[in-house]
């Protein structure tokens, strides 16, 4: 079977390179994405930043050996006027994912290593060319552990008759922790479950539960719902999470943290679309809720290339994201 995997991989490698499909070498596929963003906030300095330069390698070697690794260079300033924002500057090299998938039966997979937490759809497909907007709603990365290092069981019914399921457990700290400058919370134990009901090819409704403890000793139990639903050219997306907190860290003023966003997008054709989202986020360290509204347009000249231009307006509470104009150019390669 190992030999079969190597033969298949070699056959894949005979095909030429296609943008967005990666490059095959033996049983391994080398792919990645880049994202350059321009930020012109109403207050603070303007910046052009290499937000991500990511390389991911997918291996299909044998039924029990399917390694995956992703590393990226993130937040590297190209042009900066005024004071650099949080996490910006000289860039950081980050190990995003490093795991092996073992296919136990058709549809059931055991994953061991460092992986993305299945809380909401956005976190699992967070690559810039794949997500709706340049500015990420806070609820898609705050209030939970985005990564976990440990074991996970995934079930995906080949015939989609029953929902997709993922359970996971991280016994200790994250492997190869990301720098503190680009993270909000660090977790030392994480466990949870995600259930997703496919509605159509891209449409689904998902439910998340995650129990965790951060490095400051604050425990949290998170409940979340996310969905995507398409009606012809109009797509609705949303995510809502609520965390009950136990313990108190410095600066914490609430015993809960919650947030939610609702997004709409309209595809004029295969290349042009307009989008918007509204978000409300109740930060554990702020006495009032942040409310943001975003409007934008996207141009997709190729399925692997996306240009986005958007304006975000903070309409209440202490800003999670600054008011201003944002643009990005992202390429899946």
């Amino acid at each position: 079977m190992l030999l079969s995997g190597l033969i298949c991989g070699s056959a894949r490698a005979e095909d030429g390179y296609q943008l967005g499909h990666g490059y095959d070498v033996g049983p391994f596929n080398f792919a990645g994405y880049s994202n350059v963003t321009a930020s012109l906030p109403d207050q603070g300095g303007d910046a052009v930043v290499l937000d991500d330069l990511s390389l991911f390698v997918t291996g299909h070697v044998a039924k029990l050996f399917n390694p995956f690794v992703e590393a990226e260079l993130t937040r590297l300033d190209i042009v900066q006027t005024g004071e650099a924002g949080r996490g910006h500057g000289d860039g950081a090299l980050v190990l995003e994912r490093l795991y092996n998938d073992s296919e136990l039966t058709d549809g059931l997979t055991l994953r061991l290593g460092k992986m993305l937490s299945p809380v909401g759809e956005w976190n699992q497909i967070h690559a810039a060319p794949l997500v709706l907007t340049t500015v990420r709603p806070a609820v898609t990365y705050r209030n939970f552990s985005e990564y976990l290092t440990g074991a996970s069981l995934l079930y995906s019914d080949p015939e989609s008759k029953i929902p997709d399921l993922q359970v996971y457990w991280q016994p200790d700290r994250e492997f190869s922790e990301r720098p503190r400058s680009i993270t909000f919370d660090e977790y030392r134990s994480v466990a949870g479950v995600h259930v997703s009901f496919p509605v159509a090819l891209l449409d689904q409704i998902g439910f998340s539960f995650q129990k965790s403890r951060d490095t400051q000793g604050v425990g949290q139990a998170l409940f979340g719902v996310d969905f995507q639903y398409t009606i012809q050219k109009l797509t609705l997306r949303g995510e809502w999470t609520y965390s009950d907190l136990s313990g108190r860290a410095p600066g914490q003023v609430r015993q809960s943290e919650w947030g939610g966003y609702l997004a709409t997008s309209y595809a004029f054709d295969d290349t042009w679309s307009a989008y918007s989202w509204y978000e409300e986020f109740s930060n554990r360290t702020a006495a009032s809720d942040a409310r943001d509204l975003l409007l934008g347009v996207a141009y997709k000249p190729h399925p692997a290339i996306v240009l986005k231009l958007e304006y975000l307006q903070n309409i209440g509470g202490p800003p999670v994201n600054p008011t201003g104009l944002f643009a990005s150019w992202s390429v899946l390669f």
Binding site: I7, C8, A11, R12, H60, F68, D106, S160
Partner: protein, 142 residues
């Protein structure tokens, strides 16, 4: 007049007729693939949507597609996958980021046939008018 209206109503109720040039498709696989029964179209769709990734003997399935501009891919996409190209492209990009490789592309019928003949676990499709030489026919799509 009533008869005419009834005939018109009957004709409108018929399913849309495929274009005259549309031919049956053959779902073909490398001779190494062993199946107890022919594949159903739902199973073929599950393979191309990356939900079914292994043959019954545990070997890896290698799905192969034609180039996006080809008529035969358009027919396969509409009849078997029941999706549009833009949605499929988005879906496969998302799957790729999550560690599942999208179908390979072969840009002609002879290239598709040669690839399927050569690669263990490979599955693809050709026109029923093309002789299915040295491959296993898993299903016929009318």
């Amino acid at each position: 007049m009533i008869r005419l209206l009834l005939v018109l109503a009957f004709l409108m109720a018929l399913p849309p007729v495929r274009s005259a040039c549309a031919e049956d498709l053959l779902i073909i696989a490398n001779p190494s693939v062993e199946l107890a029964a022919p594949l159903t179209l739902k199973q073929v769709a599950a393979i191309y949507l990356l939900r079914m990734t292994a043959w019954p003997d545990g070997s890896h399935i290698v799905p192969v597609n034609r180039e996006v501009s080809s008529d035969i891919r358009g027919e396969f996409t509409a009849v078997v996958l029941k999706q549009d190209n833009a949605s499929l492209s988005t879906y496969w990009n998302e799957m790729h980021f999550q560690g599942k490789l999208p179908p390979l592309v072969q840009e002609s019928e002879p290239a598709m046939l040669a690839f399927i003949q050569r690669v263990p676990g490979a599955v693809g499709y050709i026109s029923a008018a093309t002789p299915a030489i040295d491959v296993k026919v898993l299903a016929r799509v009318p």
